[in-house]
Amino acid sequence: MNTVKLTINGKQYEIEKGTFVLKACSDIGIDIPTMCHDERLVPSGSCRLCQVEVEGWGKLHTACTTQVKEGMVIHTHSEKVVKARQDLLDMLISNHPLDCLTCESAGACKLQDLCYEYGITEGTYRWEMSKPYYDDTNPFYTFDASKCILCGLCVRVCDELQGTNAIGFENRGFETLVATPFGEGLENSTCVSCGNCVSVCPVGALEPRSKMKFRQWEIETTRTTCSYCGVGCQMDLKTKNNRVVGVEPAFDAHNEGLLCVKGKFSYNFLSHPDRLTMPLVRKDGVLVETTWDEAYNVITSKMKQTKEDFGSDSFAGLTSARCTNEDNYMFQKMFRSTLGTNNVDHCARL
């Protein structure tokens, strides 16, 4: 027997042995809130938001760390469960600055979404807010400890997936903080600015710096392929008003939610003022702006002349390891079919 029979919210299911309750529920379309869960990581069971009631098991159990068992009777949204979750959210929000009006993450914040879902309007716990600690030494992202809910995702991603181990928890207990070793700031740590921690932070504690201000609901996303190295990571470009303002890694691709500093953060060249915007032709020794029509005319009349005077093999072309397959196909087709030579190569032997 490789499956177990169990009851979830009054319905019978047969589920593969060894499956975690959280996964079993999401497979059958039941949405359980999570804050510290990430399928790629070893479950940590630290936020406790995913807790569910199992009849006869006493206290509540975290769905992300509990495996299905024969005969289990699970309630994912019983009154007791909902109350417990509300209490946890209340505690989190009581210790969180309500900066949603200015927070860049508003609209893409799990804490905000869950408070909304569970009807939490304000924190009722009165205690001293966590100590402010702000690290803006990294050129690509900032860390605001006051917004950190200590889910641990960043630390686990940096360790388990990125393998860099640049950050960890300090001062365990009430004063716990995500920090670099010896608190010397990200700039002086082993951090390689991959941004993989930033991509998983469920709140606004780790935030990418953007040259342009935007609200999360104003942006459109487009799935594409990173244009730097041959790994070809899949990613979503976030755009606003015809400008790329951020990049998120794809989780359902071979890069499994990871990117590097170039893919994640190096997109500002796209809108750099140095971009070429007009064709240029050399006149009296200098390159001057011209129309496409003139540029094409200069090129094609030279092509025809050269072909006539010196033959097809007097052309040579370097195609590009940076351009698309379709661009490359057209390039070699132009050389072979239109110009009649196989003098096509690329610089990628380098």
Binding site: C229, L270, A295, A321, Y329, A348
Partner: protein, 525 residues
Amino acid sequence: MTNSIQEIKGTDAMFIIGSNTSENHPVIGAIMKQAKKAGAKMIVADPRRIEMAEYADVFLQLKPGTNIALLNGLMHVIIEKGLQADSYIDEKTENYEELKRLVKDYTPERVAEICGVDAQDIIDAATIYGEAGKAGIYYTMGITQHTTGTHAVMSISNLALLCGNVGIESAGVNPLRGQNNVQGACDMGGLPADLPGYQKVFKPEVLDKFQDSWGSKLSNKVGLTITEMFKAIEEDQVKFLYIMGENPMVSDPDTNHVRKILDHVDFMVVQDIFLTETAEMADVVLPAAAFAEKDGTFTNTERRIQRVRKAVEAPGEAKADWIILMDIMNRMGDETRYLNPAIIMEEIASLTPSYGGVTYKRLETESLQWPVPDQNHPGTKFLHKTAMARGRGLFMPVEHVESAEITSDEYPLILTTGRILYHYHTMTMTGREDGLNKLAPSSYVEINEASANKLGIENGDRVKIYSRRGELETTALVTDIIEEGVVFMPFHYTEGKANILTNSAIDEIAKIPELKVAAVRVEKA
């Protein structure tokens, strides 16, 4: 790559040679570290103590240009210890006796001497690779950018065959391609002897197929490689040079020589997104759309064909490269109009067997690794499964030879070059990212403390470097990650440009220049 990136997670041992993976292919580097954590063994061979070396079970800090000796040494030990895959060799390979004979002379002691590593480390590395059930080899330019590059690649394949690592999952021979679409540029026929899909221009049946489809007369004469093109320009054979999206003024060896050639050519068109050092020398410069401004596909290092999608408009009047090329072809009398890249892909698929089943429609829901011969084929995760089942692996034993350029009294140090994490290629893109410039602002040379002491150089000093081809000034970074006698420079920067110094001597087979070994002299500026 014969195998896929995700398969790395299932491997028993990784042998990383001549690849600074965590800097040049960072996400693959991360996945390798995950595999290591999960229990796989790791061997790293590189002239510099790169980050991956910190994770390695065995790290071999070899002299630049001695890869083949090391590989032969590993095979020597494997055969000596009887760790080779006997039945695999019997059933699936040819020429084993020849290999056995050749590597016999490569004792760990002799190889240790040639490579400047410890004999015991060679034995340990060979044992790890030989004992692993599934072991993958991963390499990049540290293998290929030598005059003996092609031989080193053969040597790698010998090692993989010896232990039965070709044609199985989580193993294989895996060159990690540098630029994002090198794989695709080659697949699409960006090579002088190859039409799309590596179909040879000199095969009549191939030529007929393309002539029928394109409706034109094609040449069956193999074209010129980049190095040969440069020579032909010097000799006034080539008059018209068209460069799309490349910057040989920074990326190619012996910059002074490249400048002379580009100056000399009768007419040059450059199509790019910025006015690069190369574009500045052109007669016509055409503004191209960047990756986020056009539709298309890239093929990654594991042969995965993936969509590129337009997210923003190109600036000003810049156009997608394929549109520019189509416009020119139309004006030259080829009337074919393509409405969009999906239609170009239809043509590619109809002419290229390995892309036969690729359509934009499929790419919306699937990601395909070639070969994808037809619409119903799911793509190919790892290569040679069926070929190896029929037995076709050929051992190609090769001897170690010295690099083209060796050190002398005048040029006593070996210069090796490479990329760094924070910049990409000739920096046209990354050089315009403030944050990256902050992290990696300018050119430098890594030099070992002992070498620096002898020369009276301290960390941060300005230094002059001379080679037989040129000289430059840069900043010294005194470090222990590199050994005495070897210095390293990233090649990205325009100021203090490493390729002023490098050697354009090429590997006779692959025509790749020896960027990894040049003899130089360093002096305090």
